[in-house]
């Protein structure tokens, strides 16, 4: 029992409610949301510290014991993701201060942003499957508002599709919960795990688990990513960075949680299926990444490829692979947000999104150029940077589990991601400018500050791996031994 657990959720929630009253005072909105974002990073950091010291933290809402009330659980995995979420969202928020524009700020941009963070953090911390659905909806409804805010034609067109696909996947989520409740008669995740273990995961439960895989795969872009490229292209850079950094990762978190805690009894069917879906996702994502000349589309297809890689780590399901998946998930949230922030800055400077029409940006913008280079290297997984350790562990785990083909596909994917990123770098920063660069507007240098914080973080995550590994190790242990989670929640 620990009220600290609810704090990362409460801080943005209270901030959002307060911000609704000040929609005309933009300066005040910036101050309140900026300070609360920083405070939340501190709270989440303290939560990670407490989980490290004292093990899994649980909080029974309203004092009702675990299977009967809603329980919030922070194991190391969830705590690390909450910390990463607060950092990434703070960086995107500070980027939004300089880039989002008055028209959006007046119409409740900052409250929507905070509600989105509430949904994401709630999804990470909840220990109840229907509460997970509600947190998903909080996140999705805020994302509907953010994607359409501004109301240009393309935004309207793409948000229609985005909302439709999410309504369908939410309906499927409720249907899956209904089936699961009919079979095992509980909604608490730890209690579900116990009941599923008692009943034995037969044909019915495996079918339900595949239904959950479809639902979360739709959210995460695991193979079912057809909605993603269109809808992530239309909102402004700060919003796309939050979406790319956080939304798909919540779906991935849900997949990892359900298939390590609840449905882990029949890995031959479920985990093999996840493995091949992951391989297809990696291949299709990277084909998209090398097919386009549009900087946003290249980055969006890189999200898809990374989702496949992390899901492969889950499919291999041994210690090395799960630790790799956790490490890579944290790294990927940071690096994807960073790349979208840098991509947005590049577009702001050059006035186009097509890399064929850019060039020579290194002469006028060397800092931006080198930051993009470091981010690209981190994404590919070049040794001193953050992507390397996660990739190494996943490859090691994949080989141990005997998934030779899929490991090969993963390594090939890394090569093609390197190609796609270097194509951006060489076209945008080398050569001569193909069109006159727009004069830097006043204060656009500010935009690089939040991005540079994330660059430093990727370097620290890479060089400080020795220091971070114990945390990842603890997170991986909980995923490998669901009993720890169950003991902490049900306290028999």
């Amino acid at each position: 029992m620990n009220n600290l657990l609810i704090m990362p959720l409460l801080v943005p929630l209270v901030t959002a409610v307060v911000l609704i009253f000040f929609n005309r005072q933009i300066r005040l909105q910036k101050w309140i949301s900026g300070l609360s974002a920083l405070a939340n990073v501190g709270v989440a950091g303290y939560l990670v510290h407490v989980v490290r010291q004292e093990g899994i933290q649980t909080l029974n809402m309203g004092g009702w014991a675990a299977p009967y009330g809603i329980v919030f659980v922070a194991d190391m995995f969830a705590a690390l993701l909450v910390l990463t979420t607060t950092i990434v969202s703070a960086a995107c928020l500070y980027y939004a201060f300089g880039s989002i524009g008055k028209e959006r700020e007046k119409f409740y941009f900052y409250p929507f942003f905070q509600f989105l963070i509430v949904g994401v953090i709630g999804s990470f911390l909840t220990g109840d499957i229907f509460n997970l659905f509600v947190c998903f909806e909080v996140m999705l409804i805020s994302s509907y508002a953010l994607i359409v805010l501004g109301g240009t034609k393309k935004q309207l067109r793409e948000s229609l599709k985005y909302i439709l696909i999410n309504i369908i996947s939410s309906a499927l989520f409720v249907a899956s919960v209904a089936y699961l409740y009919a079979v095992v008669g509980t909604l608490n995740m730890a209690h579900l795990s116990v009941r599923v273990a008692e009943a034995g995961q037969g044909g019915v439960l495996t079918t339900i688990s595949v239904l959950f895989l479809i639902v979360f795969g739709l959210k995460a872009g695991l193979f079912l990513y057809f909605w993603l490229p269109g809808s992530y292209k239309v909102p402004p850079a700060a919003i796309t960075a939050v979406f790319g950094g956080l939304l798909t990762k919540v779906g991935l978190y849900a997949i990892i949680r359900t298939f390590t805690l609840i449905f882990y009894h029949d890995p031959y069917i479920t985990h093999t299926l996840i493995g091949w879906l992951a391989a297809a996702t990696m291949l299709l994502g990277v084909i998209g990444a090398i097919a386009y000349w549009d900087i946003h589309r290249i980055l969006i297809y890189n999200i898809v490829a990374a989702v496949g890689f992390i899901a492969f780590g889950l499919a291999a399901a041994n210690q090395a692979a799960l630790e790799g998946a956790i490490y890579y998930l944290v790294h990927d949230m940071i690096v994807k947000a960073l790349l979208f922030l840098l991509g947005g800055t590049i577009i702001a400077y050059t006035g186009t999104a097509t890399i064929k029409e850019m060039g020579g940006l290194m002469r006028t913008r060397p800092v931006l150029g080198w930051m993009f280079f470091i981010a690209a290297m981190a994404l590919v997984g070049v040794p001193p940077l953050s992507g390397f350790i996660g990739k190494l562990l996943i490859v090691e785990g994949g080989l141990q589990a005997g998934f030779y083909w899929i490991t090969g596909i993963g390594l090939l994917t890394s090569l093609l991601i390197l190609y796609s990123m270097m194509r951006i770098f060489m076209n945008v920063f080398w050569g001569v400018p193909k069109r006159p660069l727009s004069e830097p507007k006043k204060g656009t240098g500010w935009l690089l500050l939040p991005a540079s914080c994330l660059v430093i973080l990727t370097i620290v995550l890479g060089l400080g791996a020795e220091w971070i590994y114990p945390y990842v190790n603890q997170a991986g242990e909980t995923l490998l031994n669901p009993d720890q989670y169950i003991q902490a929640v049900l306290k028999e």
Partner: protein, 112 residues
């Protein structure tokens, strides 16, 4: 009784899916609301439709119906109500701005 409900829910799913695959945006939205109806009935059905009193302790009955799915359905109803109203207004805005209700004409990768 559950068998009968299963057929009714199946038909709702079928009609909803058919409507979602059509071209007119309005029919698609109607399809999504049929789909949510189906899902809510499914939640009700999957908790067994055994006879019992309404879940009010004042009834002083021997056995009650399961109260949990009713709470879940109520939560899900208001969520889908909010989303559906947002979707309707969005469709209205899209019709005003884009001048079409036909999903085929909303295609395209063009970046305007």
């Amino acid at each position: 009784m559950e068998i009968l409900m299963a057929f009714a829910i199946g038909i709702l799913f079928m009609v909803g899916t058919y409507l979602i695959l059509s071209r007119s945006l309005l029919r698609i939205i109607l399809g999504t609301s049929l789909l949510t109806h189906a899902v809510h009935l499914l939640l009700l059905t999957m908790s067994r439709l055994k006879t019992g009193a309404a879940p009010l302790l004042g009834e002083k009955a021997g056995n009650y119906v399961d109260p949990l799915p009713q709470a879940l359905i109520l939560t899900s109803i208001v969520i889908s109500f909010g989303v559906t109203s947002f979707f309707f207004v969005l469709a209205y805005r899209a019709y005003q701005e884009l001048g079409t209700d036909d999903m085929e004409q909303l295609r395209g990768h063009d970046d305007e």
